[in-house]
Structure formats: C-alpha cells, structure tokens
Symmetry: C2
DNA sequence: ACCCCAAACGGACTTCACCCCGGATAGTAT
DNA sequence: ATACTATCCGGGGTGAAGTCCGTTTGGGGT
C-alpha cells in the first residue's frame, strides 16, 4: 500500500446506489405531489411508496423541506440557464435596465408556477436562501455592478441593494400568497401588478426617467 | 326571559380566568425564552411550567407560532405607537421622505431586536402577514399616498410598490438571518448597511436626488 | 477473485405539535 | 341564592418529523 494518501481527492460524489435512490425518491415525490398536493407528502408515505426506509429519505434530503428544495433545484437550474445563456432581454445582450426588468418578470412567473413547492421548501429551522446566496440576489448584484460601471447607478453598497431588490421581487410571493390556495385569477392578477411595479422600481433605481 | 336576544353583542371578550391564564402564559414564555432560547419553548414544557394543561395553551394561542405572535404583538403595539403619535421624524411632523427613512431605520432596529421571536412566529401552514396586512406595508402605503399627493411620486399602483418596499425592508431579516444564531457583530453590521441602503432606495423612489 | 470500510440502508424509537372531549367554572339571568 | 350555559380546563391520544444505531453493500485497492 502507499505509505501516504490524501483521504479524498474531489469531495467524493454520491455512491451509485445513493444517486439512484435520490432520483427515484424525487420521481416518486413528484408523483405524489401532482396526485394529492404538497400537504400530503409525508416522509413515511414517501419512504413506503418508494420502497425504501425512512432513514434513507432523511439521509438523502436532510429534512422534509430538503425534498422540496431538491425539487426546486431542478427547475431553478433550467431557469438559470435561460438567464445566463438564453436570448435577450432575459439572457445577455440587452441593456442592463431591460435585463433587470425581464429578469423580474420571468422570475415572478417562475415563482407563481412553483409557488406551492417554494413554500414547502421553507424550513422553520433553517435560514432561507432566497435573500442570501439565492439566484436572484446574485444575478441582480451582477447586473447592478454592470449598471454602476455604465454610470447608471452611484450606490456604494451594491450588496445591500441587491438583497433588498431581491426581497422586493420575491418577498411578496414567498411571504404573502397563501400556502396552496386557489390558483384562480387572484394571484395571477396580483402577479401582473407586481411585475409592472417591479419595472418602474427598477427604472427609478437606475434613474432612466 | 326575553323573547328574543341577539347571540352576541360585542364579539364577546375573554373570560376573566382565560385572560389571566393568557397573561401568565406569556410571562412564563418570556422567562423560558430568555433562559434558554426560542428552540426550547415546547408546548408541553410551557404548560407544565405554567401549571396548566396543554390543551389550555393551545386554546389560548392556537399554535406554537401563535405564542410568538402574541409576544410580538406587545412590542409591535409599542412600536406602532411611536410611529403614529411619537415625535418626528418617526412620528408625524417631518416630511415624507424623512419619515420613510426614519421608519425603515427604526423598523430594522426593531427586527434585529426581536429577530428570534419573529422567526419563530413564522408558521409553515399559515401565510405570513408581513407583506400582507403587516404594519410596514400599511404604513409605507400611507406615506407613499402622501408623497404622491405632494408630487414626489407618480406611480399608479401604490399598493404593489408598498408591498415591495416592505419586503425590501423586512425581507432580508425574516428570510436571511439565521434562526437564533450568534448575535455578534455580524448581523448588526449588516443591519447598518441595510439601513443606509434603505435610505438611498427611498430617496431614489421619491426622486429627491 | 477477494478484502475492506466508508457510505448507505432500514426501521424502531423519541419528541413534539396539535386534536379531542368529558368535566369544571365564570358570568348572567331570574 | 340558584340555575343555566357558554366558555374554559386538563391531559391522554395521534400523526409526523427527525434521530440512532446495528446491518448491509458498492466499489477501489491488492
């Protein structure tokens, strides 16, 4: 044997069976959610239906909220792809203001779409990632940085502003709309109003006027 | 007996013993929290320490989150008093921009102070009131209305803007900071930065420049 | 092919929020 | 004072999240 070896090279990926189980659990979770909603997805039920032990479910996702977070992760990744590499104005190519506006509109649509899961991913014992390292904060900060370089913005503390704008964008959905609720006209109408309001907020911050 | 009587006049207040128990429970809850933090306030422990049945605790507050909400209510009321009737710039008398800025700063301080309880008052099965009918949204909307009357603002949809500003103000605290966490310099420093950022955000929205 | 052990698995166990409902009681009408 | 009833109280019961730890297994090393 080697006299000396580093314990791990790369942070060591999941074992094959673990990865398989993760996928399987996510698939079953999606099924259960579309059949009977977020509320009825219990850890016991999920484990049983997936033919796995409950311990396994927890090992894979850490908590009930973790399952929803993992589910969102998928969708998020797709969304992020559009933002980073898709066509303008959402993707690169348009001017900063247009991109910020487009991002807000797209993000609102996304949040409306995944609202139930988004809510379920909240965890009483865990800080929420939305405002912190969340996609919105990061992307908005990036755009604000660009805006400042272009002289559209003179704010010193871009980090704080990014966080506040991200909260302004996502907050109303995460904090306001009811858990599962009738997805009738109500939320959708409000979403349009919020999107318009976001647009004018962005324009004021970037002093387009 | 009277031939006919309305079932209730005023929404019928709490019975004396019930009110007494509520106060007592809140007092004990405050003690327990300051002794060992929010996490260890369980319904069983509270009931036992208060020498009351668990059922009573639930009857009085509805849920665990309800206790924290009731606790916050006190503090909120005091805060609101300052905002409505206190000295300017927080209270009435100063110009709109100054009042908005002052409100934000005061609110941030308040949130920082009551952060642990604020988080604990969140309830997985209940929509959050912060953005909805919350004090911040209401007060900000009022000030925005005044600003519009004074020609400082031309936004049509004041409701949406109020919600977004409230989210920008409170979101970072409710969503971002960790549950109980070390109340060291970290959060406080961030709070100052956010307060400054709030000020410049308000000034831009009210186009003071 | 075999060894080895870190990682994964399973499911009983613990803890806790919340429900239920029979029994007690405060406040009111007589 | 007495009776009446809406409200309250108590604490055992239930369902679900999360923990623990003994057992099993994937897969790199030899």
């Amino acid at each position: 044997m080697n006299a000396f070896r580093l314990p791990v090279g790369p942070p060591s990926a999941e074992r094959a069976d673990a990865a398989r189980n993760r996928e399987h659990l996510l698939k079953v979770a999606r099924e259960m959610i579309s059949e009977s909603g977020v509320r009825r997805l219990t850890m016991d039920a999920l484990a049983e239906r997936a033919q796995l032990g409950k311990g396994t479910v927890f090992r894979r996702f850490g908590s009930r909220a973790g399952i929803f977070a993992a589910l969102l992760d998928d969708a998020d990744r797709t969304f992020q792809q559009q933002v980073l590499y898709g066509p303008p104005p959402l993707g690169p190519g348009a001017d900063v203001t247009a991109r910020l506006v487009a991002y807000g509109r797209a993000r609102i649509e996304f949040l409306l779409e995944h609202h139930a899961i988004e809510r379920a991913a909240l965890d009483r014992n865990q800080q929420v990632t939305i405002a912190a390292g969340g996609m919105s904060t990061t992307h908005i900060r990036m755009l604000l940085g660009q805006a400042r370089r272009e002289g559209l913005l003179h704010t010193a503390d871009i980090d704080s502003l990014a966080m506040q704008l991200a909260a302004a964008l996502e907050g109303p959905f995460v904090m306001y709309l009811a858990p599962e609720e009738n997805a009738t006209a109500g939320p959708a109408r409000r979403a349009v109003a919020l999107a318009d309001s976001w647009e004018s907020l962005v324009e004021q911050v970037l002093k387009v006027q």
